[in-house]
Symmetry: C2
């Protein structure tokens, strides 16, 4: 691997000059520049980012903590974020926390070791102090951790409201909300939105907690079987909704004639199955963009306009509602 010294030698200039041309910084004669460029080309020289980082105390690496990789929503988010960061000429160090605090803490140390420039955090961590003491810019996704850690989330309250309004508009009278773990803020917000509309209309409804990763089909079946007069279901994820659809079928219910169903996320799969799923779409695209761009501002010491951004969600009407 050629170093800056090799280039300098070949071009008959000093390393300082080479550094100037590779960084387009400071004065350098056009002719010498040519010389240097030629040498760089000949040696296939690539600057060592490690050395550069050591000096600059920043690594152009962004650390990202995700709860899971196999959940479509997170995978999509990661895909978008990776795309944007590489375009900003930053790279991603990925930590799959598996929803496990120890793993998070372990990676926090790693982030420190590598002089990570910024952190994108998808976690409902309680160890906020650990993060803050790192003194690295952070943007949280899906969770409003504290007042002073910027965050971006979908407007989950709106999501709940949209679902409730739709279900009311098509005449539902008894509703079930199959939600995620109610310890999670997005889940709580959706519940708030959903309930607020329904309570206003005095429509019976209740929420049932499920695991996002592995919703128990047995639990769902039980709830459905003991609420056979239910005519509308709101689910906190499309995966849950797909499970619900199966259980409804087993219970002899037709969708959307007997029971109407709304999911959340708008994953690819929701379009494959018939009946195609009506769902609340989160814009991973917008969330990802906002997260990265805000983090860039934070890293550059620029002010940010809003500490807690909400991204609107939309109702995608398909075949599981009338």
């Amino acid at each position: 691997m050629a170093t800056i010294k090799d280039v300098a030698k070949l071009a008959h200039v000093s390393v300082a000059t080479v550094s100037r041309v590779i960084n387009s910084k400071g004065y350098v004669n056009v002719l010498t520049k040519e010389l240097v460029l030629d040498a760089i080309n000949e040696l296939q020289y690539v600057p060592n980012e490690l050395a550069r980082s050591l000096f600059k105390k920043q690594s152009r690496i962004i650390g990202i903590i995700v709860p899971h990789l196999t959940s479509y929503y997170f995978a999509e988010l990661l895909e978008i974020i990776e795309d944007i960061t590489i375009n900003f000429n930053y790279r991603l160090m990925v930590c799959n926390s598996q929803d496990n605090k120890e793993r998070e803490t372990k990676y926090l140390k790693v982030f420190q070791q590598y002089n990570i420039d910024g952190i994108i955090l998808i976690s409902n961590t309680t160890r906020i102090q650990d993060y803050k003491s790192l003194n690295i810019p952070i943007i949280a996704i899906d969770h409003k951790l504290t007042e002073d850690i910027p965050s971006v989330t979908s407007n989950n309250v709106l999501g709940g409201k949209l679902a409730a309004e739709k279900l009311i508009s098509v005449g539902c009278k008894k509703l079930i909300h199959f939600r995620g773990p109610s310890v999670l803020m997005p889940v709580r917000d959706r519940t708030i939105g959903f309930k607020s509309v329904l309570d206003k209309h005095k429509i019976y409804n209740f929420s049932f907690d499920l695991d996002f990763k592995n919703p128990s089909q047995e639990d769902i079946q039980n709830v459905i079987n003991s609420n056979l007069d239910c005519d509308g279901v709101f689910c906190d994820s499309d995966i849950i909704a797909l499970n619900v659809l199966q259980c409804l079928k087993k219970a002899g219910k037709r969708v959307p004639e007997d029971v109407q169903v709304i999911g959340f996320d708008n994953i690819e799969l929701s379009r494959i199955f018939s009946p195609k799923l009506t769902t609340i779409s989160q814009s991973t695209e917008k969330i990802g963009h906002y997260a990265v761009e805000t983090l860039m501002k934070l890293m550059n010491g620029e002010p940010i306009d809003k500490f807690h951004q909400q991204i609107d969600v939309t109702l995608i009407e398909r075949e599981t509602t009338l």
Copy 2:
């Protein structure tokens, strides 16, 4: 951020001594060790991996190139690989190539800049020379690139055979193979295995190419509608199979009574839907383990036992076959 100098000062020793204790290398008195450890603790010192890497010319970072993150199979693979690498005290720099050569090349340069120690490559790249000239250990997954780049793949020929044998054993007479893009080696191997068994038994069959990421449901429907006497289908992914199931339903076919279906991958979803999918299971677990462990050997200059490892697949019989 405290540095090694700060620790040395506080412990009243030299940086060399501190270095020795943090690396457990060379002689150091138990008492001085205590002193140093205390200082480290007090200052919350974390060694700067960038500086260390610069000296050692290795970064404890592994680069991984994946075609997509939103495909369940790749997500699962990545999840496993991330878990193993962090246990080996290595971190992952993730490149989502989006099946795009330019992106791969871009990341190759990044890998170089960061003194990446090894590369896990999931790509059917043709630019093998670019990789080789990097002089970084590589392990390829799913693709046998050249004789001298180690690889690990599922035994795809076996997968095709198992599917064919099962379908024959339940009496199928006319088969369709909805496969992935036939430019991919795994796809070609599955076809070879599948056809070899069927041709021996003189059973009619043909293959139809689909995109893995977005299989056209329209194409599938057309193929099915013009082959209504088909009684068995082998799909190169569970996602394709799930699509096929939908099309079969639309065509008025019952599964498994009229048509039997076998998928590939054994993704979580294949268990959710009824009828539950019979499928060929790839062990992402074993593939991931083999890949990382082999890469470790390569990085340590150890010999590896086998250049092209095949991991057996198994038939998981569920409800879409008799």
